[in-house]
């Protein structure tokens, strides 16, 4: 019985969303420019954040999985911290680091004239900050499961460490990277707290879908429901894709 309650607790809200959905006015709601703007921005930013996470997250995962160094446990804890950190705190922290008066941000501003907060780039950074740990953890796990002796075999054939990684390890852990990237992408797509804190809420520039949903809920609840359904559909699609491609395959 508690199990059924648990199930109902998780499923009921989603069903309610479907029940209350303004199906008749849906096409109209979803074709408004604001919605498209927000959706487009969300997809672009989440994808960019995922790419950023991959470029700097995969080497980090490799470091954690393959290289013994003092303080590795501490580094891993720091990497996973954003997973449990309230996103708003992440946003504040990003402001302190990269804001106009931030530790690094003030130099970016005065030397290069680069301003990150309240820009689309800021959205991408905020999302990457929150989403990258998912990718790192996933890739690190895959790397640990992958046999490091393949890299050794590659070096005995004359491959440098980098070549061995690129031509042997990377293809072997590709499924793990893909799974991690999807997780990170989904997390980035739904990111709210860090984004609104660090990047604000400017339609067309930093207003992503979750921000649009929240805002619409106060002025136009029907639009909020419609937007929510779009996000729900995307999430379900991701889950289905994950299961078919990676979870059953591995």
């Amino acid at each position: 019985m508690p199990a059924l309650i648990g199930l109902a607790f998780l499923v009921l809200p989603l069903v309610a969303l479907l029940i209350r959905a303004p199906w008749t006015s849906m096409p109209e709601l979803l074709t408004s420019t604001e919605v498209w703007q927000a959706l487009r921005l969300s997809l672009i930013c989440a994808t960019a954040a995922t790419l950023v996470s991959m470029v700097i997250g995969v080497p980090l995962a490799w470091l954690l999985a393959r290289v013994e160094f003092p303080g590795r446990g501490l580094v891993r804890a720091l990497v996973t911290l954003p997973l449990v950190l309230p996103p708003v705190v992440g946003g504040v922290a990003l402001l302190m680091a990269l804001g106009r008066n931030g530790v690094v941000g003030q130099w970016l501003d005065s030397w290069f004239g680069i301003t990150l907060p309240f820009t689309t780039t800021g959205v991408i950074l905020a999302e990457a900050f929150v989403a990258m740990p998912f990718l790192v953890i996933s890739v690190e796990g895959t790397l640990r499961a992958a046999d490091p002796r393949y890299e050794e075999a590659a070096t005995t054939l004359g491959a440098s460490r980098f070549t061995a990684f690129r031509r042997v390890t990377l293809p072997l852990i590709a499924p793990g990277i893909a799974a991690g990237a999807v997780l990170a992408w989904a997390r980035a797509l739904g990111e709210f707290g860090a984004t609104i804190t660090f990047a604000g809420n400017f339609p067309g520039r930093t207003q992503t879908m979750p921000l649009a949903v929240y805002l619409a809920l106060q002025s136009d609840p029907e639009a909020a429901i419609a937007l929510s359904l779009v996000l729900l559909a995307v999430s379900v699609a991701v889950l289905a894709g994950l299961r078919d491609r990676w979870m059953t395959a591995s």
């Binding site: 393949y150 005995t156 004359g158 072997l172």
Partner: protein, 392 residues
């Protein structure tokens, strides 16, 4: 090369001094001597080939093994699990650093050279073929890393696959290959970098018994064709004796004995080796049940074969008589002379020369009853059913 059939210097004195030099079994062109760990360090390195003293310390374990070999030699490191054989191999490949000692290959110091820059090829125990690449691309990997263009590398790889009889499997992914095929792809991949030192870690351990016989015979021929030094690690004395012409027995990180396989079998220095290398092994040509050895003697074997073959039987299968036995059912009978006797536990291993050089195990009681001592003439019998012949 296994050369058990040549003459022994049957005047060799008893075993205590006999292990160091043993000219009887040195293969042609083989400049390796019977040096032990301490001796090889001082020995002048051959112009080509391998000259190494490998010292690796890991916690309480210390490996200290000296290895010398001339180009064309096949050296087997034989020993129980945990003896440090694989560590020695990894040190040769550069996968573990040397704590001390030296490593010279064809006169070049390799101690500090990273593995990717060493002219060393490795066939790993479970082959470690890259699962995402085809057999062809696995073999092309090395040439590619050495700077060949993709087309050149593939051409070279195709040549190696052809040589190893794998041309039709070039496009197959490793998981579609049988154990024997995977082993040959791994060998082709290691050889494609044109190594000056080929290392094989338990090359036959991953194969089932049936495949093993075929692969062993093939591997023997490929190793014989290989012009540089080959070092293989195995815990199987038969593999070691068939594949190598020089055996180095390693126990607890140290060399306990080395020399030609037949020599070690007949004059084991420790109980452990006596137990481990308890095998008389010969090469010849089979015709039906008879295997005629290069030296003239013939052995009647349990199996029926035609063509080049090995025949083997354990020392315990040999029965000794002082008089020519009459009415013995044993199909094999040779007249021999006792060259040496060594006690191992409650058994004695007799080193016999004569028609057929062989090792025989008998109990101390039996040895006393026969009145065995060096110089005595004995008749050795072996039942055909206790010998095994297999294709070379």
């Amino acid at each position: 090369m296994i050369d058990n059939t040549d003459n022994t210097n049957n005047t060799a004195s008893t075993a205590s001094t006999a292990n160091i030099e043993n000219t009887e079994n040195i293969a042609p062109g083989d400049t390796a001597d019977g040096n032990t760990a301490a001796g090889a360090d001082a020995g002048a390195p051959a112009a080509g080939g391998l000259d190494a003293r490998l010292v690796v310390e890991r916690g309480a374990f210390r490996l200290d093994v000296a290895l010398t070999a001339a180009p064309g030699d096949v050296v087997a490191l034989l020993g129980p699990n945990g003896a440090g054989k694989t560590t020695a191999l990894r040190a040769l490949a550069g996968l573990v650093p040397l704590s001390d000692g030296h490593l010279r290959l064809d006169g070049t110091e390799l101690d500090r050279t990273p593995p990717e820059a060493r002219p060393v090829g490795v066939v790993f125990q479970d082959y470690l073929l890259f699962p995402h690449l085809t057999a062809l691309d696995n073999v092309a990997f090395g040439p590619r890393c050495q700077g060949a263009s993709k087309a050149q590398a593939r051409e070279r790889a195709a040549g190696w696959l052809e040589r190893l009889g794998l041309a039709e499997h070039a496009g197959a992914k490793p998981r579609r290959l049988s154990g024997g095929q995977a082993q040959r792809v791994a060998l082709a991949r290691a050889l494609a970098t044109r190594p000056r030192l080929l290392l094989l870690d338990e090359p036959l351990a991953a194969l089932d018994a049936r495949t093993r016989l075929d692969v062993r015979a093939q591997l023997r021929h490929h190793l014989a064709d290989f012009e540089a030094v080959a070092v293989l690690v195995t815990h199987d004395p038969l593999d070691a004796m068939v594949l190598a012409d020089h055996l180095v027995v390693v126990e607890d990180g140290h060399v306990v004995q080395e020399g030609a396989p037949s020599h070690i079998a007949r004059r084991p220095r420790t109980d452990y080796i006596a137990h481990l290398v308890g095998l008389n092994l010969y090469r010849g040509r089979a015709e039906g049940h008879t295997v005629r050895l290069d030296g003239g003697a013939a052995i009647t074997a349990g199996e029926e074969l035609t063509g080049p073959a090995f025949v083997a039987f354990p020392p315990s299968a040999v029965t000794l008589h002082r008089e020519r036995p009459t009415g013995s059912s044993a199909r094999n009978l040779w007249r021999c002379e006792v060259a040496g006797l060594e006690t191992h536990g409650d058994r004695i291993r007799a080193d016999l020369t004569g028609e057929l050089p062989l090792a025989a195990d008998l109990t101390t009681v039996a040895a006393a009853e026969l009145g065995l001592h060096p110089g005595v003439t004995v008749w050795a019998t072996v039942k055909a059913t206790q010998t095994h012949a297999y294709r070379d």
